[in-house]
C-alpha cells in the first residue's frame, strides 16, 4: 500500500473529506414490531426493531419510576468475512451498553413506569461503522414506535486517515496505518453528545477537530432520518 488513499481531498470512493457515505433509511420494515427501521450506511446494512413499552420480564427488573431499556446489538453470523460465532461476545455486550446509555436520557422513560422497551439491532452486512448505523436505525425505530423522545439521535464516526480529518470512514480507510476512528452519537437538535468512543493515537487538537466533524455529519443524518419517518407516515395516509 504505497499509493495514497486520499488525493487532493478526494477519497477512494469519490467522497469529499466531510461527506458521509450514501445513507438510505426506511422506517417501518418489521410488521410485527411496534417500530422498526432499515438502514444502509454505505455497504453496512442494519435492521432495528423496537417492542414496547411492555411488561417487564423478569419482573424484579421493574423500575417503579421509569421504563427500562433493553438493548441488543448482534452481528448475524454471515454478516462478516470470517463467520461470527453466534452468541455472547464481549464486544457486543459493550456496544449494547454504550448504545443504551446514549439513548437513555433522550427517551422520556419516566412516562412509562414499570415497563420495558426492547431495542434490537441486527447487523446484516458489516463494513465499518456498524454501531453508528445501528444507532441511526434504532433512533428511527423508536420514533416509528411512537415513543416520545427529546429528539432524534443521529450517529456517525469521524477520524483521521493519512493526516486528513475525515467523516464516516470505510473499512479501507480504517486500515490506513495512521487511522483513528471516533464514533459519536448526538442529539443533533442540541449538539449534545451521548456516545463517544475512540482508540488510536491522537492529540487533543485532533480530537477536537474530529468531534466537530461528527457534529456536521450528525446534522446531515438527522435530516435523512426525519425524511424517512415522514415518508412512512405519508404512505400510510395516502
Amino acid at each position: 500500500m504505497s499509493e495514497k488513499l486520499i488525493n487532493k481531498g478526494i477519497r477512494p470512493d469519490g467522497r469529499k473529506l466531510d461527506e458521509i457515505r450514501p445513507l438510505k433509511i426506511k422506517a417501518g420494515v418489521v410488521d410485527r414490531a411496534d417500530g422498526s427501521a432499515y438502514v444502509e450506511f454505505g455497504t453496512t446494512k442494519v435492521i432495528s426493531a423496537v417492542y414496547g413499552p411492555k411488561k417487564v420480564h423478569p419482573r424484579h427488573m421493574e423500575n417503579s419510576k421509569k421504563a427500562i431499556l433493553k438493548v441488543r446489538y448482534n452481528m448475524i453470523p454471515f454478516s462478516v468475512y470470517d463467520r461470527k460465532r453466534p452468541g455472547y461476545d464481549k464486544r457486543s455486550v459493550e456496544i449494547a451498553k454504550v448504545v443504551s446509555e446514549a439513548l437513555e436520557n433522550v427517551i422520556f422513560l419516566e412516562e412509562f413506569p414499570k415497563s420495558a422497551i426492547d431495542i434490537d439491532m441486527e447487523i446484516i452486512q458489516a463494513d465499518a461503522g456498524t454501531r453508528v448505523a445501528a444507532i441511526t436505525a434504532a433512533s428511527v425505530a423508536l420514533a416509528d414506535a411512537g415513543i416520545p423522545m427529546r429528539g432524534l439521535i443521529s450517529s456517525v464516526a469521524a477520524g483521521r486517515v493519512e493526516g486528513n480529518i475525515v467523516l464516516d470512514l470505510t473499512k479501507e480507510e480504517e486500515d490506513a496505518s495512521d487511522a483513528i476512528d471516533l464514533p459519536v452519537a448526538m442529539l443533533a437538535r442540541t449538539g449534545e453528545i451521548t456516545l463517544l468512543q475512540m482508540d488510536g493515537d491522537a492529540s487533543v487538537d485532533e480530537i477536537e477537530k474530529i468531534v466537530r466533524m461528527t457534529e456536521k455529519g450528525c446534522k446531515d443524518i438527522e435530516k435523512i432520518q426525519g425524511k424517512a419517518l415522514i415518508e412512512k407516515y405519508n404512505a400510510n395516509t395516502a
Binding site: N105, L187, L196, D201, E208
Partner: protein, 263 residues
C-alpha cells in the same frame, strides 16, 4: 445503596465545589502502588486509590499470532468484580460493567502500544508470546476504571518474561527480561455533575452522578482511547476540556509513581 436524600446532598455539594472528603473537584485520592503481590504471576500490582483496591496480574504463554498481525505478540485481558468487593457484586459470567471496564483498560494500553508487540514475536506466523492481563476488583469505592488502568500499567512494568528453551518449553522459574515497553499510558475518568467536572469519584458520588468520559493518555500527551459512559451527554467544549484534564493528571501520575519508558 445511597439514599435519595444523600444523593441530592452530594450533587448540591459538588455544585458548590465541596466533596464529602474535602477534596477539590480535580483532586485524586491518595494513591499507593505495590508491586509483586503474587509470586506466580510474571508481574503483578496492587493499587489503592483511597478505599478502592484493585489487583492486576500478568501471565504469559506461547500462542499463534492473529492472522492479521503475524509478527506481533497477543494481548488478552479480563476484568472481574470479585463478589467480596461490594454487596451488589455476584459471582458468574462478567456483566456489562465488567466487560466495559476490561475492554476500556485493554484498548488504552493496546492502542498506545505500551507493550512493543513486535518484540514478542518468536517465529513469524507461528509462535508469539501471549500476554494475559487480568484485573480483579478487591474493594469498590468508585473510579474502578482509573484504579484498574493504574494497576494494569504497574503490573506490566513489574513483569519479567519467562524463558524458553530450544523446544519452546517455558520455564516460569527463570524469569529474566522485563517486557519490552515503549510508553506508559493511564486512563483518567472525568464525571459530569451539572456544569461541574469532577475526577476520581467515590462509590457514593457515582451513585449520585453517572455521566463520565474516560480518556487514556500516553507519555507524549497523545490520547489512545476514549469512552463515554452513563446516560447524560457532553458538549464538544466539555470533551476538549476533559482531554486536557486527563493529560495533565496522567502527566502528574507518571512523574510521581512511574519511571519513564520513553525510548
Amino acid at each position: 445503596m445511597t439514599a435519595k436524600l444523600t444523593k441530592d446532598y452530594i450533587v448540591n455539594q459538588i455544585k458548590r465545589n465541596i466533596r464529602g472528603d474535602d477534596r477539590k473537584l480535580d483532586e485524586m485520592r491518595e494513591l499507593t502502588i505495590e508491586r509483586g503481590v503474587s509470586a506466580n504471576a510474571e508481574g503483578s500490582a496492587r493499587v489503592k486509590l483511597g478505599k478502592t483496591e484493585v489487583i492486576a496480574g500478568i501471565k504469559m504463554d506461547l500462542a499463534e499470532p492473529y492472522p492479521d498481525s503475524q509478527d506481533k505478540g497477543v494481548l488478552t485481558s479480563s476484568a472481574e468484580f470479585l463478589p467480596l468487593a461490594a454487596p451488589e457484586f455476584e459471582a458468574g459470567r462478567p456483566g456489562e460493567v465488567e466487560v466495559e471496564l476490561g475492554r476500556v483498560v485493554d484498548r488504552g494500553i493496546r492502542e498506545a502500544e505500551v507493550i512493543d508487540f513486535k518484540k514478542l514475536c518468536i517465529v513469524e506466523g507461528e509462535k508469539v508470546w501471549r500476554v494475559f492481563m487480568d484485573i480483579v476488583v478487591i474493594n469498590h469505592d468508585g473510579n474502578l476504571m482509573d484504579a484498574s488502568g493504574l494497576a494494569a500499567m504497574a503490573a506490566i512494568l513489574d513483569a519479567k518474561m519467562p524463558t524458553i528453551d530450544k523446544d519452546y518449553k517455558i520455564d516460569y522459574n527463570k524469569r529474566e527480561k522485563p517486557l519490552p515497553l515503549t510508553t506508559i499510558a493511564l486512563p483518567i475518568t472525568v464525571m459530569k455533575c451539572g456544569n461541574k467536572l469532577i475526577i476520581d469519584t467515590t462509590a457514593d458520588e457515582e451513585e449520585a452522578i453517572d455521566t463520565r468520559l474516560t480518556v487514556t493518555t500516553n507519555e507524549s500527551g497523545n490520547i489512545s482511547s476514549m469512552q463515554k459512559g452513563g446516560p447524560g451527554g457532553f458538549t464538544v467544549e466539555e470533551i476538549v476540556e476533559i482531554c486536557k484534564i486527563a493529560g495533565k493528571k496522567t502527566d502528574e501520575l507518571i512523574k510521581k509513581h512511574f519511571k519513564s519508558k520513553k525510548n
